[in-house]
Symmetry: C2
Subunit: 368 residues, 2 copies
Amino acid sequence: MPNLIFRYQVESEPDQIAARADALLLEQTVELSRAVTRDPWVRENILGEVLSIEEVGAGLYAVALAQPLRATALDPAQFLNVAFGNSSLQADVTLVSIEPPDAFFATFKGPRFGVEGLRAKLGAPKRALTFTALKPMGLSPEAAASLAYDFAVAGLDIVKDDHGLADHEFCPFEKRVELCQRAVGKANAETGGTTLYAPNLIGGPETLYRQLEFARAAGVGALLISPMLVGPAFLHELAAAETGLPILAHPAFGGALRVAPDALFGQVFKWFGADAVIYPHLGGRFSYSRETCLSLAKRLRSAEGGLRPAFPAPAGGIKTSRVREVLEFYGADTLLLVGGSLLETGDVVGSARAFVAEAEKISRELVG
Amino acid sequence: MPNLIFRYQVESEPDQIAARADALLLEQTVELSRAVTRDPWVRENILGEVLSIEEVGAGLYAVALAQPLRATALDPAQFLNVAFGNSSLQADVTLVSIEPPDAFFATFKGPRFGVEGLRAKLGAPKRALTFTALKPMGLSPEAAASLAYDFAVAGLDIVKDDHGLADHEFCPFEKRVELCQRAVGKANAETGGTTLYAPNLIGGPETLYRQLEFARAAGVGALLISPMLVGPAFLHELAAAETGLPILAHPAFGGALRVAPDALFGQVFKWFGADAVIYPHLGGRFSYSRETCLSLAKRLRSAEGGLRPAFPAPAGGIKTSRVREVLEFYGADTLLLVGGSLLETGDVVGSARAFVAEAEKISRELVG
């Protein structure tokens, strides 16, 4: 069976790095020393290999490990375990990137819709897509639905729950989803638009499946989940299920991991099936670098493993005045989020229309 | 409704910290500026409060926030969202600790067994408990069962799957669980012992529930999960379900979070229902400090919120020769893991018996 390649950055004394790299290799699978790993089948079929060790700074090394794909059991949770399970507990190591073999993608099929499928659903073959969030937490279902209606009338492509909207007593999931979907449907009927409403599924597995069932029956157009809050393996399961719905992935609770953001959000979330991945764009309230943002977008859109490209969804304090800058940075294969700033003036429809128009205008300049 | 208190460590310029603390407060709930948060009900009922800002070092501040419990929807995933959702993406902030109000514990009931329940199940009212793991990955179900038999004959309290044992083609979950449980049952029948076998549940929600059902039917005595791999909210759901089985929580994939280990493992995992939490003890392959280890153990054993105490399960390269040191450090309310080193000599039963005997001997010295 083929190997996965995992690349780590490791702090070490020069005379320790060879042993450290070997210990890292063993930690992720057998969790035993080489001497105690006696079984010949295990030595032959489970033990991976240290591919390379390269000094990249003073006391800092790039370590590449090959681990057998079979160690992952082709299960999403176990795959993360082999990538960064126990070693995540060791302060001297960061997971930088992952290179799976082709066979990996026979199980991890990535986005079901991706860029092309979402564009087709929205009748938008070329331009940047737009979306926003229903907020603030504390809205009643009626107020959320009214806001959703305004956004849909203004022509946004997707209106999603804020990722902090859960099954609150003051805004129960079912009531909110029912009213918001109805409001968006009404707006679409009036304008001939195709706005999708994406409720936020959040909770333990039983809650998630109950919410999913309700949302599908209500006719929602897409789904939002935060994989690190609801379990990254749920994303894979949800994408593999034939729900017929595009999935937006939110990065909440994931930013603190000692995993490179482009590996977690740009690779793993996509491999597990997100059609669009939301992440903090540079220059907002968050701190990703230019390089990280570009790498994230590139990974999401890549055809690696024959997977469908997914939309990068840069977010985090972007206002309509920054749409040009953001689209010139990312190009038009972008699902563009403007959130709270649409609520600033009080004229929600006007602000949302201006956002939609600006995204269209810049898209035309970029892709005709 | 009462408030939760969240304590963070924040890096900031002195003249920025007041604004930074307020931004942190807003980020976790409304995700809007104060000016745009106009709804009076939201301002009154959702907006929290910056309780205190204290300089704890040059450019380093301890910030305490009060957030309304209602913002969490009393849902485990949403609770983590309010604690460290978006703010986890900001590099200047670490979540240090969480202080829930009493009302929180009406929903988050913590361990179903805890120290007392697990001691009762094992007929061990005072001494330190012992456990070990079936490894290495790559064992056949028959080899795993043979090892489980040896460990049970030697009198270990719990024999768990290594956390990296998944539903591998070379060691399928069902076959392994069936054979291991049968082997442990046979050993118990022969020795009059009470060893529990704890299989590792790993995968997406559907896989987890299928595995749970199989494991229960097979008669296993406990369960192992890695909450950060299978979704922390699943832990809460599993503990709330009446499975009748103690739950061991493994820290895999959780160590890299910018959340204080004693908050994540010592508090959250316990609140969500783990009866024992495995974590790296100082001086092994991992790097937790003495203070972290003591704080973790103290939190797990506390009666905070009226919850049952849970077992600290220090682990990570502990050998039988270190049992005295570890038990003198933690005392006898400890579930003690010795793992791979039991396999070193080839005489598994002998090594495991020596571990069990040592734990009993030191326990007697400590608690009679």
